[in-house]
Symmetry: D2
Subunit: 333 residues, 4 copies
Amino acid sequence: MKFGIVGAGRIGRVHAQSIQQAISGSSVVAITDVIKKSAETAAAEFGIPKVYDSYEDLVKDPEVDAVLVCSSTDTHATVAIAAANAKKHVFCEKPVDLSVEKILAVKEAVNKNGVKLQVGFNRRFDHNFSRIKELSDSGELGKIEMIKITSRDPAPPPIEYVKVSGGIFTDMTIHDFDMACFQAGCPVTEVYAKGAVLVDKAIGEAGDIDTALITLTFENGVIGLIDNSRRAAYGYDQRLEVFGSKGAAVAENDKPTTVTVLTEKTVSSDKPLYFFLERYMKSFTDEIKAFIDSVENNKPTLVDIDDGLRPILIAQAAKKSLDENRPVKVEKF
Amino acid sequence: MKFGIVGAGRIGRVHAQSIQQAISGSSVVAITDVIKKSAETAAAEFGIPKVYDSYEDLVKDPEVDAVLVCSSTDTHATVAIAAANAKKHVFCEKPVDLSVEKILAVKEAVNKNGVKLQVGFNRRFDHNFSRIKELSDSGELGKIEMIKITSRDPAPPPIEYVKVSGGIFTDMTIHDFDMACFQAGCPVTEVYAKGAVLVDKAIGEAGDIDTALITLTFENGVIGLIDNSRRAAYGYDQRLEVFGSKGAAVAENDKPTTVTVLTEKTVSSDKPLYFFLERYMKSFTDEIKAFIDSVENNKPTLVDIDDGLRPILIAQAAKKSLDENRPVKVEKF
Amino acid sequence: MKFGIVGAGRIGRVHAQSIQQAISGSSVVAITDVIKKSAETAAAEFGIPKVYDSYEDLVKDPEVDAVLVCSSTDTHATVAIAAANAKKHVFCEKPVDLSVEKILAVKEAVNKNGVKLQVGFNRRFDHNFSRIKELSDSGELGKIEMIKITSRDPAPPPIEYVKVSGGIFTDMTIHDFDMACFQAGCPVTEVYAKGAVLVDKAIGEAGDIDTALITLTFENGVIGLIDNSRRAAYGYDQRLEVFGSKGAAVAENDKPTTVTVLTEKTVSSDKPLYFFLERYMKSFTDEIKAFIDSVENNKPTLVDIDDGLRPILIAQAAKKSLDENRPVKVEKF
Amino acid sequence: MKFGIVGAGRIGRVHAQSIQQAISGSSVVAITDVIKKSAETAAAEFGIPKVYDSYEDLVKDPEVDAVLVCSSTDTHATVAIAAANAKKHVFCEKPVDLSVEKILAVKEAVNKNGVKLQVGFNRRFDHNFSRIKELSDSGELGKIEMIKITSRDPAPPPIEYVKVSGGIFTDMTIHDFDMACFQAGCPVTEVYAKGAVLVDKAIGEAGDIDTALITLTFENGVIGLIDNSRRAAYGYDQRLEVFGSKGAAVAENDKPTTVTVLTEKTVSSDKPLYFFLERYMKSFTDEIKAFIDSVENNKPTLVDIDDGLRPILIAQAAKKSLDENRPVKVEKF
């Protein structure tokens, strides 16, 4: 399969590297970026033959089978629709958009053109979390009753980024909302969000929060909890617990080594892998492999456009819940 | 120090055993129970010389320095007040009472008579949880930002008990409310409780819930979470996580052995210690030792009558929150 | 059952405390020590009614059912024989003696008088190690193939003690030789000992070693390994691994708490329990309970006089192996 | 850097994949194999442009900077010498040869031609074991006193392979001998090997053993232990413990996920990664990166020809020790 990449920033480069180096039988044949220099640098580094001036040109390239949408969030929908209209399959980074209308427009374009679309919720492909999903699906845990997600970044992003990020729920928790839906296999109907500014006052002054506890109610009666912080002194904290009638499954953090050091003072071991590039690198490759499998074998993608819409609706409800300090129903679609 | 025990049920016997066998320099000299046979059996088993017909007689015994109130919850306040009026120090099992007025009446009696009172929130003395409190107090974790408590019983109590228990918040979560206050070192100002009946429909028919996620807001800005279930297939689940600006501390479950078994099928280890008698036995002894220290050295008790009141007020707010599905302020006192 | 204790040193006091406080239905009725003051102190502390001037007097006391031999090693055999001849059951601390002849003399006295004798190899009763023995016996590990014992003291004993200790193999490794026999369920036929002086030169100057690797060959083909050190900076290191055709079992160290602390610098947890009194306290109680059970129900003791002899023969072979740097056969009996 | 690979079997393919996919800036330009079809298949799969009929042709290719010797063990020395004489750098799989003379001949050829040679002891580059080496070198563990290596294969190789393998010490333990030297930073002077046939009688009938305990004495006084088995029901067991005067470091097995499953029956987690391809894949890449660094920056290789010789001398001493049941000095060179 031949890919064209729109957006040569961090995540675009991650996908370029995965496809060129870790996925045999596929390759990236074209790339573009609003900063052409970035596209050219990536093309040189990862051996991508064509650099286009615009996404409009790239999506027309007959050699391109699928477009990876890795541009800035506000352009995802536009590029995805253009790609679909050019009859290209689409792999779209998350969030698809912050607006429900635009996401539905992407859905319409994808359906009309009969192409596949997968949303980049890579954590579903993480070895630990997908193992727990398998355990749940196998029935080994019985009927699922509660889901708890711990998701803490090692350090907050620059305050300039925070100001334009759309808020913690769409910027950071969006992944956890998707994980909750994935693990529950069921939509969230209500959300209660408790937030605080405990890490950095500047985040509060920018109208956002940096610490959150979010209670989720699922359609099937399961209840769930997400705890977020923009700062964990010990590194990236990404854990999951699923409790069922017959048992529970717990995923701990990954660590660089298994070494324990015992001295007169203490017994110590490694901190968790530092951040998402370290922790989730393999999942970035695995999500692309799954996308290729869906396209080549004409199967539904594992993270479809509705999966892209759900976390946005939850995030909107969470924001309203935080603002009004009350549980809020998640909009249906 | 010489103790008289009112109530020869399970917890009364735990204290009798602790004092007679594990605490040198103190002894139980008298016991009473509404079922006299129970008191006689315990007296014979633990070498307690005197068995009284009533608590009124026991509290008058001049040999008794302190009264352990281990009778049924609805009699705690009455016995505690009688003991205080007889100038005996009081160790009162939790909850002191379900009524705020009665707890305040106990407080008045204790203050008026100048005796010590300690409430039986034994988990504060647990080796794991007290270690985390020490870490917080030492400043090693920085400014505390979030507290998460997991508290799951291995199996629900008999449905007949559930019907008269006063509900999960005062029966089970009461310990966790106290732990939250203890770890935060600060009162809870608001609570949001989400509950479900997922373990046993009969519990729901009895007007109670069996699964809960409770969000706590503390006066100092810390936020907290308690998750409860009346049933954990793998046994008693008692864990704690405290997150601060400089780091986090996590207490895992205790296990009977450290043995791991590796076979072709799996790598397995022990389940957690089964229930509170196994897990918390040492803390029952340690709370009594602390009480003796407070009395003998005229120091404030480590769990005073206000500590007995706070969880009741939180439980009341939690019940209201559950009923009305909204966050509820905790009453001040 | 009523016990008399000969020797009021550290281990005599451990047993006194166990029996008086943790074992209901039994008590210590008499104690003696070559330093009478020690016996009196222990008697006062643990509520032992009678203090004798000599072990000869104590063993004659008709109230005494069993004698705990806790005196210095060179007197164990003499006291044990006197007790047996007085028709008392005998619990004898290890090693029974360093001389094979004396151990056989104890055996003869015990058999002639029809009394029970148990040797104080308490580690067989340790929760972790006894669990592994149960696993082996259950067949879950298949046919046992290899046994590995790690046994490291936190710090070497005073050099004056080392000089009279009889050497590391009879003083320290003796426990590990017994554990090896216990876990294998089979005698050791050959031993190869590699030693070094790496902790303290003074130990070498005293004619002893402080670090050892000992290879054991068992009659049934199993092979085993003991590693010893007189010093572990991180505390008492007591671990066991048993490998079989169907799997393996591994016992890790016990720790005071399950708390993990995560900071910017490191992830740390507790060091192992400091030394044998902390780590093995429960096993001291459990071995006495087993002894009482053997006497009261007329069952063979779980650690009999032959079990007391075997490690001495292995230790002798180990010493010869070390001196001659070659594998040495263990003497049969 | 441009590589030619001699030998398109399992390990040749591992290196081809590493270089083509995971190491940017280097590539494999030629391959050969005694079974030409194998070379052609690998060339097609990994995009290697040239397939040669013989190693003699390959080493003459002016485009080739370095030769990876991945052919059968008995041809390593011949190919390595030919490559060196053609002024190519050499990466030689282990063992370089079973004969000391041939290894010295390779050394001479390498020195004479001024090329670099690295031996394929990939485990030195394993994340866990290299971390422990760093800890030792940093002084954090104090003066090293003991090294313990556990190395157990999941299942024995086919008996036909065992018959021609040269015995467990050169086939399997060779890696552990190298690891021991690497961790100690010092040659082994004496070895005592205890072996047994416990896994499969056929292995014994082939003149080999399948279970071993090997005691090592190092020149600097450190003592060490390797335990081997050809079969571990639970999978590949690769652990290391290093004890020093100030502390110890322990490397546990790697596992596919961090997931723990808790049910009514048990608490279970993953088995270790299955075998060397799973466990050591990253180290295969990292050793080639180190080789490239040595060549490009003209630094000594991290595993030189002497490092290839040492384990052979230890293996020879181990075999003699096993045959004669006595400790044997390792030949100096």
